[in-house]
Subunit: 212 residues, 2 copies
DNA sequence: TAGATTGTTAATCGATTAACAATC
DNA sequence: TAGATTGTTAATCGATTAACAATC
């Protein structure tokens, strides 16, 4: 359990998937080794930052002059993020956004597997959306427990988000990806990741406004 | 042009939409005044942080003991973010995610109006998706210029994102909301807001991993 | 007046960037 | 050896939190 892992800054963790995408692309091109300065140039980041980020998660380390072995670096990042063993997730709320997410190709590249969708809409229940079965809300607990699902994705209307959140927590979900525009109250040991689309819109809107 | 605006931290700007959602909710309940400590409690934020955030964008200011006039505070935030005059935007890539975004209710609450969608898919061109006309890629420039569109949303596959980005920039778009998992190269004066879904997945995945 | 709240100045914290010795 | 790159320690920067005087 306690592997005595160095504490990696949250900002670093958020950059790791970008490195991974970039490095996987390089691997496909047949590149064998890669250095921090090259990655920095490719992703428009500060060189020292990249060097520190990679040093934080690379177990093999890099060699002066040559850099990192690409294959090992990719494996180290995947291991650090836990992408090496795929985790099951459920999506609750199969509206436009929910069904778009169900079909999101990115999941499988990041160690996530959606096992089922849930909705209140009678017409959806029992059907498949992009290959995933849709169940009624009252089966969340049963299915989470039997599949040992630890990740829940909330794409229901804002006013139902807290209620769904509570059901998920009771069902044993440990981490929640919340697309609703509301603050969720959860026990201390549950992680909530808010996907704050309106924060992005705010930054865009303000950047335009300044140029009148 | 130069209104001599205080520089507001980026992190504050990102919190403003949350305040707005919260405050609009309170306004609907009929509340007339609101204080920073109340908002802080409601959104699980530090009290001083909220006070500073609100002070940064409120032109009227609050009164000791009573707090802010709710209506004025909402207007001040809306004005600061530029939500007071609605901006037109286009979406390029009307796949699952793109069409979900076209129907996203949140836009109108945050001063954005999607005027059109664009896609290469012949079957989509000429149709309406959630009430918005879909045009071919080669009409992006013409339509952006005639509607004076300054905001572009990219929901195309990763490998086409840069190409669409270039077209948008040439068409006069000033701010780009990028849902593709690639780094976009743009001139210095263009704002790119990356919606980094894989960063969120990374944080979730890692939080689960730690509990083995 | 007493007390809650504002707005601001100072202290702390975390992340980024710079500087540099160690290494192949 | 010379030079590029690593990994680490120190300096800077920005944001959060604490402390406090001013106000109604």
């Amino acid at each position: 359990m306690f592997e005595n892992e160095k504490t990696v800054p949250k900002q670093t963790v958020k950059r790791l998937p970008d490195y991974l995408t970039y490095l996987r692309g390089k691997a496909e091109e047949g590149v064998m080794t890669i250095s921090a300065p090259i990655v920095a140039k490719g992703l428009n980041l500060n060189e020292v930052q990249v060097r520190k980020d990679l040093a934080a998660v690379s177990e093999c380390g890099g060699k002066p002059r040559t850099g990192y072995l690409l294959r090992d670096l990719i494996l180290d990042i995947e291991k650090y993020l836990g992408y090496d063993n795929v985790k099951d997730a459920i999506i609750v709320g199969v509206g436009h956004l929910g069904s778009a997410l169900i079909s999101f190709e990115g999941f499988k590249n990041h160690g996530l597997n959606v096992v089922a969708g849930f909705d209140t809409n009678e017409k959806l229940i029992g059907t498949e959306v992009h290959g995933k079965r849709i169940f009624p809300i009252n089966r969340i607990s049963e299915i989470c427990k039997s599949f040992n699902v630890k990740i829940g994705i909330i794409t229901v209307p804002d006013k139902h988000a807290q209620e769904i959140c509570d059901i998920m927590v009771k069902a044993g979900v440990l981490a929640i990806w919340n697309f609703a525009q509301v603050h969720l109250n959860v026990p201390d040991d549950i992680i909530v990741q808010n996907e704050n689309l309106s924060a992005s819109i705010a930054l865009l809107s303000k950047s335009i406004k300044r140029r009148h």
